[in-house]
């Protein structure tokens, strides 16, 4: 995996990330690059999307993310955790370990988990 | 942003009632009002026809006629609120307003009859409305 040359926009950005259990982690919303152009990490989360949108739109999204979600840092996935780079990107950890599930938990805790029938297996 | 809001407001108000500038404008407005109320009266009369042939139940008819009455009433208020620009327009106003009142009253009577469950009486009670409808149609054609 190390040393591959990629067209960022084509192969990496906005791709779906799947964790080691097969669950969706999110999309590659942004990437962290070091001075020599190596990708160091993938960034996931609305804060990262805000950064890419840029301009007024990005600021607006960043603001609302802070309000509704708290925290200003997106989820960071170091590049050495990547195991596959095909039509979607697989990582070697579960999403709980990656910490990418915070929002899901918040929605679950305050709303969906409290409605009867929420835990039953889906159809 | 502000210009956008101003434009939106201008568009919205343009679609509301605006003051008549000429006799022709007023006549057109009167014609449209007559046409709209004719539509409501015709709807109610079709409902009465359905009742006569035992093809519609009470609850449905009561909704149908009540909507027609509400529409007619609101057209009348809108029309009444427009300033007639001349004496000629005054005469048109008087004639139409009288007719609109007859329409609204007639529809109200039908509504009351339906709500009382007296479906068999609808046909009789609708008779005056038929003449009103004819008159409304004539006016709406004259004034288009």
């Amino acid at each position: 995996m190390a040393g591959r040359v990629l067209d960022l926009a084509l192969h990496l950005l906005d791709r779906q990330i799947i964790d080691t259990d097969g669950n969706p982690v999110g999309n590659v919303d942004d990437v962290e690059i070091d001075e020599s152009g190596y990708v160091e990490a993938l960034l996931v989360g609305p804060q990262a999307v805000a950064g890419r949108l840029g301009g007024r739109l990005g600021e607006w999204l960043a603001f609302w993310t802070r309000v509704l979600q708290g925290g200003t840092e997106p989820t960071r996935i170091p590049v050495d955790l990547l195991t596959d780079l095909g039509s979607h990107i697989t990582v070697a950890r579960s999403r709980t370990e990656l910490g990418a599930h915070r929002n899901e938990d918040r929605a679950r805790e305050y709303l969906i988990g409290r409605i009867p029938g929420g835990r039953r297996e889906g159809e | 942003m502000r210009r956008g809001v101003a434009l939106l407001l201008a568009l919205l108000t343009a679609s509301c009632v605006s003051p008549s500038r000429t006799d022709r404008d007023y006549e057109l407005k009167a014609g449209n009002s007559a046409k709209a109320v004719a539509s409501s009266v015709a709807t109610a009369l079709l409902g009465v026809e359905a009742a006569r042939r035992h093809r519609a139940p009470g609850p449905y008819l009561s909704v149908l006629i009540a909507s027609a009455e509400e529409d007619a009433s609101s057209v009348q208020s809108q029309f009444d609120s427009v300033q007639p620009p001349s004496a000629h327009a005054d005469a048109q106003r008087a004639e139409l307003d009288d007719l609109l009142s007859q329409a609204v009253d007639g529809l109200a009577l039908l509504r009351i009859t339906v709500r009382r469950g007296e479906l068999d009486q609808l046909d009789t009670k609708a008779r005056p409305l038929r003449a009103v409808l004819v008159r409304l149609r004539t006016l709406s054609e004259e004034w288009q």
């Binding site: 926009a9 950005l13 906005d14 791709r15 779906q16 990330i17 669950n23 969706p24 982690v25 999110g26 999309n27 919303d29 996931v44 609305p46 999307v49 949108l53 039509s87 929002n103 899901e104 938990d105 929605a107 679950r108 709303l111 969906i112 988990g113 409605i115 029938g117 929420g118 835990r119 039953r120 297996e121 889906g122 159809e123 | 568009l11 679609s15 046409k35 709209a36 004719a38 539509s39 015709a42 709807t43 009369l45 079709l46 409902g47 026809e49 359905a50 042939r53 035992h54 093809r55 519609a56 139940p57 009470g58 609850p59 449905y60 909704v63 149908l64 909507s67 529409d71 149609r137 288009q144």
Partner: protein
Amino acid sequence: MKRLLQVFLGVLTAIGGFVDIGDLVANALVGARFGMSLAWVVLVGVVGICLFAEMSGRVAAVTGRGTFDLVRERLGVRAGLLNLVASMLVTFLTLAAELGGVALAIELATSVNYLLFVPLVAFLVWFVIWRMPFEHMERAFGLLGLALVVFAVAFWKLGPDWGSMLHQASHPAVPDGEGHPTYWYYAIALFGAAMTPYEVFFFSSGAVEEGWTKKDLMIERINVYLGFPLGGLLSIAIAGCTWLVFMPAGVEVDHLDQVALPVALAAGKVGLAFVIVGFVAATFGAALETGLSTGYSIAQYLGWSWGKSVAPVRAARFHAVVLVAIVLGAMLILTTVDPIMVTEYSIVFSAVALPLTYFPILVVANDPGYMGEAVNSRLTNALGTAYLGLLTVVSLAAIPLMVATKAGQ
């Protein structure tokens, strides 16, 4: 034999599910004012939706992923966001209109003011999404929606002059007393009602939910190519009924109660009962679809887990969005704004959003990277591109015409 039954049920479900409050209102209105002179618009719309529904279903079956997910990946964050926002706004407005439609339909049966039903309807819509299995949900409401076939029966019973009807339909002309701008405004409205964006998202997300693969594509195509055109014919029958009864009487359609009247006159109380059941089924079904679609669109764009096929707590954000959308939609209707007016705006804005929502589908369906051998054929591409041109024209003309005709007056 079992396959045959499946296909048969699938087609029936597609027919019954085709009509929603937008189609009911638009066709009824147009029939009363323009007779059959706008029937061609329904046909053009049906071809369009068949084309794009097949495409999006194929994309979902081959890639196993939903539209918005792929749109963002293929077209980028900004384009994907534009697509998302346009789609969500229009779908939300449509959701509100459908909720209003269900309440109005219940009012027709009970004569109790529709506003009182809105909270109950909203709760039921949410509850069905929460509890009812996806396939059963689709099937049940699609089949119940077939009750609207009574419009075709009523049309036949009203004894149209078939010759003159075919002539009017095949020689479209602006009727006396109507202006050209109004004619084209209603053409656009009718088109927006036939080609609603949410149909396509729902169709493709539903394909993923039900786990379609390439093997299911044949059935999917039959459902689409048979079901949707028959649904379109049903829409035309609605216009036909109001044409025969209301045009000679000078009645303009403003209320849902008027839409049912021709059926009552032609087919009596039994016919009316069918119509009301049909209204409720069609609008309730569409409320389910639009509610789910608001969730699908935002969840797929942001990469959340989504769908009814996982336990709700594992797709908590998706369900939260659906819940909030239904509540907000109900609140909009509870402001006592006229639901028919909300419907009219929703179909016109649908027309405006059409190119934004359909263009990405064409792009993805054409990409061999995603589709492999299942990319669009040349014919599909030619048609798809032609339609995109048409959709752009329609989209640009919609708002100016709305202003010029004061929303069709």
